[in-house]
């Protein structure tokens, strides 16, 4: 007879895992209805960092909106620049020179690794391990230096322009990348020894936070959350954009649907991003980095288009409706964290409180990405 607490029913207790909480990585509030340790219902309350990104689009010209794209998901901001630039280029029919495409892919993959490192640190802190953050942030600083040397910003880039990038990469950026790749590979092995094979970490994440493929489909979860539930969907492979088809890299997919599977997907994705950067550096052509005649005050033709890129946290889609003027009529941001978080209420029902934190951490949320 295990002392199953079901036989001894206590009253429920409502507690706020509120806006200011170390485990919510930003201002996300979760109203927990608890029965002892077990969650009866965990309702995320969002909107505490709503910054009107879509409303701002309606009084900014197309090129004035670039700084905003760097501030939606500031962890992997380069990829959001990529999405916005490609969406407007598809709408306005601008072609991008070869070298600019390679630079875009290199900087986006670097930004993806920086974002996964940024997820890795606080995720292990949520489970109680404090030191991996210092390792991960050490490597992340190297990437930030590289990206800052060419784009000027550490976190919130507006490096892309319609028709290319505004600043060519120089030799010490390439040399920096060349030395960074082998170092990062060893560090990933060190992380595997430091964290992945650690029995305490295994006990906290193995079989915890099950998100099945059916739940992902119902809620529209994408990115590592989806690939951790066995569905092989990555926008770079399924709806290839820019020059991703030229590189051969594979998409890590794990079938266990638990937090450990999502952890493995992200760690393996760092390896794949390193492979992409390596190939892109090898095949980097010379030539201009900006298309010639791109009007300074871009007025795309009347029409509507939807563009989708693979952000660090999932597929980031932009729907732009233009009415011919230089200000977009409507700009819809389909952010991955919004969908990934919406399944938390159903996925965490019945879990223990500490396990729901492992689930929340493995969803890799960036709250301004949820609130927009």
């Amino acid at each position: 007879m295990s002392l199953d607490a079901k036989s001894i029913q206590g009253e429920t207790f409502v507690v706020n895992m509120g806006p200011q909480h170390p485990a919510t990585h930003g201002v996300l509030r979760i109203k927990l209805t608890l029965d002892g340790e077990c969650i009866m219902n965990a309702e995320p309350v969002i909107g505490y960092s709503h910054r009107m990104q879509e409303k701002m689009a309606e009084n900014r010209t197309y090129s004035q909106y670039f700084p905003n794209t760097g501030r939606i998901d500031y962890a992997g901001a380069m990829i959001y620049n990529f999405g916005y630039a490609c969406a407007v280029e598809r709408l306005a029919g601008i072609s991008v020179p070869e070298r600019a495409e390679y630079i875009r892919v290199i900087t986006s993959e670097l930004s993806r690794i920086a974002s996964h490192l940024l997820w890795f640190g606080p995720f292990i802190i949520d489970l109680g391990g404090l030191t991996p953050l210092l390792y991960a942030f050490d490597d992340r600083e190297i990437i930030l230096d590289l990206l800052e040397s060419i784009s000027g910003a550490r976190l919130t880039y507006s490096y892309f322009r319609f028709g290319g990038v505004y600043n060519d990469i120089d030799d010490d950026f390439i040399a920096g990348c060349r030395t960074f790749i082998p170092r990062m590979r060893e560090r990933l092995i060190l992380f595997r020894r430091l964290v992945t094979d650690n029995i305490i970490f295994r006990k906290r994440v193995e079989g915890i936070g099950i998100i099945g493929p059916e739940l992902c489909r119902k809620y529209g979860a994408t990115g590592p959350v989806l690939r951790g539930s066995g569905i092989d969907y990555d926008v770079r492979k399924n709806e290839p954009y820019s020059i991703y088809p030229l590189f051969e890299f594979d998409i890590p997919v794990f079938k266990e649907c638990d937090s450990l599977a999502r952890y493995h997907v992200r760690m393996e994705e760092m390896n794949q991003s390193l492979r992409i950067i390596e190939q892109a550096l090898d095949k980097l052509p010379s030539g201009p980095v900006m298309a010639e005649k791109v009007p300074r005050n871009l007025k795309p033709p009347k029409g509507e288009c939807y563009f989708n890129v693979e952000g660090a946290r999932g597929s980031f889609g932009i729907r732009i409706i233009s009415d011919g003027t230089e200000i977009p009529y409507r700009l819809k941001l389909r952010t991955p964290c919004f969908a990934n978080l919406s399944l938390f209420e159903e996925a965490s029902r019945g879990m223990l409180l500490a396990d729901s934190l492992a689930l929340l951490g493995s969803l890799d949320l960036c709250v301004p990405d949820v609130d927009r």
């Binding site: 200011q20 962890a75 600083e141 919130t156 709250v367």
Partner: protein, 166 residues
Amino acid sequence: MEQQTSHPYAIIRFALLDKVLALGRANSLWPMTFGLACCALEMMAAGASRFDISRFGSEVFRPSPRQADLMIVAGTINKKMAPAILTLYDQIPEPKWVIAYGNCAISGGPFIFPGQYSVVEGADKLFPVDVYIPGCPPRPEALLEGIMKLEEKITGHRRWPIVEAG
């Protein structure tokens, strides 16, 4: 809402004791983990290995307001979040200080445009701010400089050398 900038006085005050207390407080400013948006990442980077805020005594980021004495407002203050920030400010025991870290905390930053409906234009609209650190996001070194500036405000003199730029 009256804006007292200095903190209320104690029952017993000795000149030397105040100097000692100020030195102690200035060199162990425990910030509250309170990241709102992008500036939170730069605050974490300041706490991490390269910029290492613990050299200035603020390594311990206390999640609970009761144990913190420095509130770093790092990020955009939202109108839905403002009551929560005021509650947290109240719950920090005296003596407490506030650093407005980043343009959003100083004046609403890039999210101020005609017809904006959800951003509070600056932390000083809610409570008195001691140190303003501009930047979007400001570099972690700027946070360290901000903490040195706060120490100068608390103790009255600057212990660290001022490094001229360039």
